[in-house]
Symmetry: C2
Subunit: 353 residues, 2 copies
């Protein structure tokens, strides 16, 4: 193992000088710098991250602003767990992360949580900018205070965010199109069911639908794609009736794609005899969705590894703080196809090496 000392010896300088070259901290003559760089390259020197972290230890203070989850809204549970897991790991590097939760339907709670957050004077912020107007306000304050921030799962444009980590919803939609296509027989028709437009999911669901349609436009233009959209205001029973009526009247519909993470709810609304003739494709491996997957009711779930998204957000910003590693603008997460047969082996809730 090559150490900074080895390099310093070879170049007849002190370790301090080598360190200054390594971190571009200036104050080194061009001649010396060239010499050192050459030796670094030749000996393939790599900074020992262990020693580096130890030496760097200054108490970094992170803050995270994400929607809270509950029984009704499980979507944010997974990223939350990922963030928690990451917190443990980066803790060893002297980084503390405080999580601030808000109600994803209430802009006021968003602002309120931010006020609390900003009081802790964080060195960096991970945030989910769900509300456009309020976010602009928040981000202005962060910019003023020169606090770097990272967007998780909502890609607001036009800001100087360090990076975006999140879904590729359009691509996920394309993938759902492909799977639907592969599962379909000739003359089968397709149905997209979207219930309960909620503020947050709206964008992602829409993109998934766009992607789905895009796939068929390119690969099977003659495909018949139906769409059923229901509002939050409509009662479950009415929705159920409408869906069942629709399916009865359109017996060629054999593939149902549910762009939200609530395919399990949809299953419950469909009569069993109709259900058995359908192939369903949904998103996200929520416990409820996994249940209907395992029962064979749903054929595919497309998972965006939301656990890993949360995890990655924290490790990314931690690396930025500790090692000054600037991340790429966008870090997409893998699109996993989950079936009953590989769910057990898909490690969705776990960092995998």
């Amino acid at each position: 193992m090559i150490t900074i000392k080895d390099i310093a010896n070879e170049a007849n300088v002190s370790t301090g000088t080598v360190d200054r070259v390594l971190h571009n901290r200036g104050g080194v003559s061009p001649k010396t710098e060239t010499k050192i760089r050459k030796i670094l390259k030749q000996k393939k020197f790599k900074i020992n991250l262990i020693a580096s972290s130890l030496a760097m230890k200054k108490h970094h203070n992170l803050a995270t602003l994400i929607p809270k989850h509950d029984e009704q809204n499980l979507f944010w549970k997974s990223p939350y767990s990922g963030i928690k897991k990451a917190n443990q790991e980066v803790g060893a590097y002297g980084i503390e992360n405080h999580i601030f939760l808000f109600d994803q339907f209430d802009p006021q709670s968003y602002l309120k949580a931010f006020r609390k957050l900003i009081k802790t004077m964080p060195d960096a912020v991970v945030m989910v900018p769900v509300f456009v107007k309020e976010s602009s306000e928040i981000i202005k304050e962060l910019d003023d205070k020169k606090i770097p921030y990272l967007f998780l799962n909502a890609a607001l444009k036009g800001y100087e965010n360090l990076c975006y980590i999140g879904q590729k919803s359009f691509e996920a939609g394309i993938l759902s199109g492909k799977l639907s296509h592969l599962c379909s027989k000739e003359k089968d028709e397709f149905l997209i069911i979207l219930t309960r437009k909620n503020i947050h999911d709206y964008e992602a669901n829409n993109e998934r639908i766009k992607g789905f349609i895009n796939y068929f436009n390119r690969n099977l233009p003659q495909a018949v794609i139906h769409q059923l959209k229901f509002d939050q205001s409509e009662g479950i029973k009415i929705v159920s009736k409408k869906i069942n009526n629709f399916l009865t009247q359109n017996p060629r519909v054999r593939i149902v794609m549910v762009p939200s993470s609530r395919v399990s709810n949809i299953c419950k609304l469909i009569d069993n005899d109709l259900l058995s003739g359908l192939k369903l494709i949904g998103f996200d491996t929520t416990p409820q969705n996994v249940e209907v997957l395992n029962k064979g009711i749903v054929s595919f779930l497309i998972s965006q590894k939301s656990f890993n998204q949360g995890y990655k957000a924290i490790t990314t910003i931690a690396n930025y703080l500790v090692h000054k590693e600037t991340p790429s603008d966008e870090i997409p997460m893998p699109l996993e196809i989950i079936t009953k047969e590989n769910y057990r082996y898909s490690h969705t809730e776990e960092r995998n090496y």
Copy 2:
């Protein structure tokens, strides 16, 4: 952050004593030990892994014994890359890993490589025990010398290996069955093509076939499953002819499953007009396979993340050596379903967090 020093101060002992309690190294009076443990618990002390790793650095010496790869046999390329990547990372922890390669068809070269390996007096060994008899000999020597060893990708039973990391081939076969089933129309027939039985892949391929058939026995007993097996001795042209003849005579065959990692080769043997009517399912994301996937010739590839297998093998044994973390007996790798649409987002050749 609580340090060993804090604990030592509180307990009026030196850091050395605290350290001996932490690592159960003995030589501490029961009274002192109790006192220290109490403070450790009360202050929720956790060892700083960074500092620990740095301090622990004694040059651990690893050795890896795996089959070599070449143009004809790409299977081992991916695990090899994973091992290389892991080597870099664990290098920071003062661990050096030497890789010894052998010819997967030649037991003598296996033994020869091992003789070389054992001369380096490794602290632990990662091995692929392809040859049963020879492995028994090798393992006896490792046991005698009390060198811990880990099996990669070939699960030999009855030995005291630290752990097994590898394929779940049977389960992968089941999954391929499920995908085939989903893609199929009524009365479609299925074909399994196995070329070039080579010694090593034999077991895995066989398990995949068993899994495939098992799936249909349970879910579609009336399915017609054909099998074509070719020997290494037969020329490509003859094989090609046989396959094309078979497909022509069995027009109901619409789904082809290739249990080896050579689905791309099979594609080349099939006439284009026959090919366009087929759905193919293969294994492993070799560059050649990805090419036919992207061309739309192959519908699904099932990936066992062999890169990650190699990677994981090294990190597992490194953690064992450095942090005395005993791994679980078996570490299965995720079964990934890869299509043209999600390949880009599947990170197959990369550690993902």
